[in-house]
Every structure is written in structure tokens, then in C-alpha cells.
């Protein structure tokens, strides 16, 4: 897949620039108003994530096409994608919280993400177990 115009090298400069700028503004605000600094860091994090989301969408499309070529079950592929999404969101929340010094809440958010992921993965695990049992018979 050839990169479109204005992507690749230009994009990384944009992202590093945005990150550095946000970092400077956050450290400026943190001395006076820590609560606003936290919100600014959330906004910067969301922006960097959103900049990457278009790329992630393309990676997902590639994964989907590979899955159809390998004749994987669509339901399993959907589960895997959902798990990736949940991991993204849970990790984002946990990192913002631990940045703000709320380690306890961050740990709980991470734990909730892990539990939801495990629940989603149960059908796949059962499928693997069934396949193994079939092989043993």
C-alpha cells in the first residue's frame, strides 16, 4: 500500500511538534493550575490518538482482508478487533489517571478492561479447547 501525499515523514514531524508543544503548555500550567493541566493533557492525548486513528483504520482493513483470505471466521475477527478497541480505551484512561496521580483508580480501570476483554475472549478460548479435544479423539 503506497503512502498517500503528505504522510509518513511529514506526519511524524507534526506529531512530535504537537507533543512537544502540548508538553510545554502542560508543564507551564501544572505549576499554577494542576487540574487544568490534566485536562490539557487529556486533550493532547486524544488529538494524538485521533491523528493515528486513520492509520489504525487502514491496518484494520489489511487485517480484515488477510482474515478473509485465510477463511477465518468473521465472528472471531470481530472479537479480536473489539478487544483491541477496548484495550486502547482502557489504556488511555488508565494512563491519564496515573498521570494525574490517581494510581488507585487507574489500576481499577485497567482491571475492568482486563475483565471485559477476558469475557469477550471466552468464545474463542472455548473454540480452541473444542479444536484440541477434537484432535485428541
Amino acid at each position: 500500500m503506497p503512502a498517500a501525499r503528505g504522510e509518513g515523514p511529514v506526519e511524524i514531524v507534526q506529531i512530535v511538534g504537537l507533543g512537544l508543544l502540548a508538553g510545554m503548555l502542560i508543564s507551564l500550567l501544572r505549576q499554577h493550575k494542576p487540574e487544568l493541566a490534566m485536562q490539557l493533557s487529556i486533550a493532547a492525548g486524544v488529538m494524538l490518538f485521533v491523528l493515528m486513528m486513520a492509520k489504525v483504520l487502514r491496518v484494520v482493513e489489511v487485517m480484515q482482508s488477510l482474515a478473509t483470505r485465510a477463511a477465518l471466521e468473521q465472528a472471531h475477527m470481530d472479537t479480536v478487533l473489539k478487544i483491541i478497541g477496548i484495550a486502547y480505551i482502557a489504556d488511555f484512561g488508565a494512563q491519564v489517571l496515573s498521570d494525574a496521580g490517581e494510581k488507585a483508580v487507574a489500576t481499577k480501570v485497567e482491571m475492568a478492561g482486563k475483565i471485559i476483554i477476558m469475557l469477550l475472549a471466552v468464545p474463542i478460548i472455548l473454540g480452541v479447547l473444542d479444536a484440541i479435544l477434537k484432535l485428541l479423539e
Binding site: 499554577h32 493550575k33 490539557l40 486533550a43 486524544v46 490518538f49 484494520v60 478497541g85
Partner: protein, 65 residues
């Protein structure tokens, strides 16, 4: 989704910090607290809208409905 929002939040933060300091120096601590609270709320509205958009984008990308 642009850098404008970052500058807006940082601007609100700096203005609120300066106003709170000035009001504190003038001996009006309560008003300073109020200014801080309003600033946090204004920024919170922006951030919550942004977060909502972000969550919807992630949900659409990974088909999590």
C-alpha cells in the same frame, strides 16, 4: 480536531491562573475560587465533547457496538 483547541485550553488556564492570583492579592479569595471553578468547568465542557468524539471514533474503527 485541530491544534486550536490546545491553545484555547492553555489560554483559559493561563488567564484563570492570573485572575486567581490577582484576586487573591486583592484579598478576594472567594471570587478567585469561583474564577478557578468556572475555568475548570468551561475547559471540562470542551474536553468532554472531545472525549465523546474520540470514543465514537474508536467504537466505529473497531466495530464495538
Amino acid at each position: 480536531m485541530d491544534v486550536q483547541l490546545l491553545f484555547r485550553i492553555a489560554g483559559v488556564g493561563i488567564i484563570v491562573a492570573v485572575m486567581a492570583t490577582v484576586l487573591k492579592q486583592a484579598g478576594k479569595d472567594e471570587q478567585g475560587q469561583m474564577v478557578t471553578l468556572v475555568g475548570v468547568l468551561v475547559v471540562l465542557m470542551m474536553v468532554v465533547t472531545l472525549l465523546g468524539k474520540f470514543f465514537n471514533l474508536v467504537k466505529a474503527t473497531f466495530g464495538m457496538y
